[in-house]
């Protein structure tokens, strides 16, 4: 061994070893259980030093009298105080552990359920949702003079079809009933206005920006949306009763104002199948006006067939195609 074992141990605890030295340390520990005991002994002291200094910093803020005791000339008073604090701390820790555990258990249960919902949403059969805007109705129709291919109908009343985490078709309608479709088959994305060419992009995410909330980090790719909840939101759960048709409810609140995305998300789901029946997104930032709030309601689950997410399933075969290149 090119470096002595104790230097390797201390270097590891201070995170200054390179990969080769870590391998040396690993091999040395694996050689003999006594080496592992020596490592554990050093690690125990190192870990206690972390706690000792962090707690002392807290005590300096909360117990100024204790901080004034001379360390070097009167160890006994400090030892008695430290002993009392340690004893009290252990008792308090035991109680706090129980309380913390109870609260942590709910948070962990919610996180675990969210993980299951994400996995199921990736694997589930095709699903169709109706989108309801919870805001005041937006005026539909086309402003005069604008390119019809660039005008989007409102999101209220739209139907969203999804498959896994990559395939979607969003169907929106103008007041006159004409449909505007956007979608992706995971390889390319497309937009089909009522008239004019079909726009196609090799970027499967290109037309996601057309929907409200998409630019604000809330895609309608459901597994991706749920994964963002796990990372940046505080999550709680209330269990329902699957056998009696009572849905469970998961509530996620955004932790930081600097994070993008809705302020609050609620999911209603069947805890037996982990299929989401309803999703509500509140406080989606809007380019203009008040924040958006949307609800997605499950309409049906059925296999939509192999070609549903290909744009060719939704327009006449001789319709002009135009590659979309603008960002």
């Amino acid at each position: 061994m090119t470096t002595d074992p104790d230097s390797l141990i201390h270097g590891y605890l201070d995170d200054v070893l390179d990969a080769g030295q870590i391998d040396q340390l690993n091999d040395w520990i694996a050689q003999d259980p006594e080496h592992a005991r020596r490592f554990a002994s050093h690690a125990l002291v190192n870990d206690r030093l972390h706690d000792r200094f962090r707690h002392a910093a807290v005590l300096r803020l909360t117990v100024p009298e204790a901080a004034a005791v001379s360390f070097r000339t009167g160890p006994r008073p400090w030892r008695r105080l430290a002993s009392l604090l340690a004893t009290a701390a252990v008792a308090v820790m035991a109680v706090l552990l129980v309380l913390q555990v109870a609260s942590s258990r709910r948070t962990l249960a919610a996180q675990a359920e969210l993980t299951r919902l994400i996995e199921v949403s990736r694997r589930a059969t095709d699903r169709s949702y109706r989108i309801i805007s919870l805001n005041k109705p937006q005026p539909p129709g086309r402003p005069p003079g604008r390119d019809p291919a660039r005008v989007r109908p409102p999101i209220d009343g739209a139907i969203l079809h999804v498959r896994g985490g990559t395939h979607y078709v969003l169907v929106r309608r103008f007041q006159n009933g004409e449909a505007f479709l956007t979608g992706s088959d995971g390889r390319e994305s497309w937009a089909i206005p009522p008239a004019g060419p079909v726009l196609v992009s090799p970027d499967p995410t290109h037309f996601r920006g057309a929907a409200p909330g998409e630019k604000q980090n809330v895609p309608f790719q459901i597994p991706e949306a749920l994964s963002r909840l796990r990372d940046a939101y505080d999550v709680e759960i209330e269990y329902g009763d699957s056998g009696r048709g009572v849905f469970s409810r998961l509530v996620a609140r955004r932790r930081s104002s600097t994070e993008r995305g809705p302020l609050r998300v609620e999911l209603w789901f069947d805890s037996g199948s982990d299929v989401i029946d309803r999703m509500r997104f509140e406080g989606l930032p809007a380019a203009q006006g008040a924040p958006l709030s949307l609800e997605l309601q499950l309409i049906e689950q059925r296999d939509l067939g192999p070609d549903f997410f290909d744009h060719r399933s939704h327009h006449a075969p001789d319709r002009e195609l135009k590659e979309e290149t603008t960002p």
Binding site: D14, V16, N26, R48, M93
Partner: protein
Amino acid sequence: MNEKTHEVARLWTLAQPAVSAFVASMVRDIHARDDILQNVAVAVLDSFGSYDPSRPFIAWAIGVARNQVRLYLRRQSRERLAFDQPALDHLERAFAEISSRDVRMLDYLDDCVASLEQRGERLCELRYTNDLKPAAIAPLVGMSPNGVAKALQRIRDLLRVCMENKAALDGF
């Protein structure tokens, strides 16, 4: 608090120093250690019904901690543990066998820290209160990173000897 919870709390309080040191040595980030330790506490409470009282509690809790460490690293998309399975097996056993004497000896840490020279205490403040590594500490104290690392090693060795001497004087 019912009897079961009381028993778990009692066993956990005794095991916590060893479990904490084990977790810290696996992740080497004090905040990650805190997060994982909280999860271990929850898992211990949740699965206490499956604990076999004929086995040492610390060994069982270390096993729970090992699983929580792996779960944490997987969630963080981090690289694997620094140690391979043979080393890990030895380490789990070593931490599980940390004696009550070793833990009681830590009671003398405050006294021993108090006997450090000012520079030593300053290095410890920077390392443990501020959670700085030697490279970050070096410019603050006018030393090289290697010098800081060596100094921290000497300080910890001094503290260990101090604690052992005090424990011996007190008869254990």
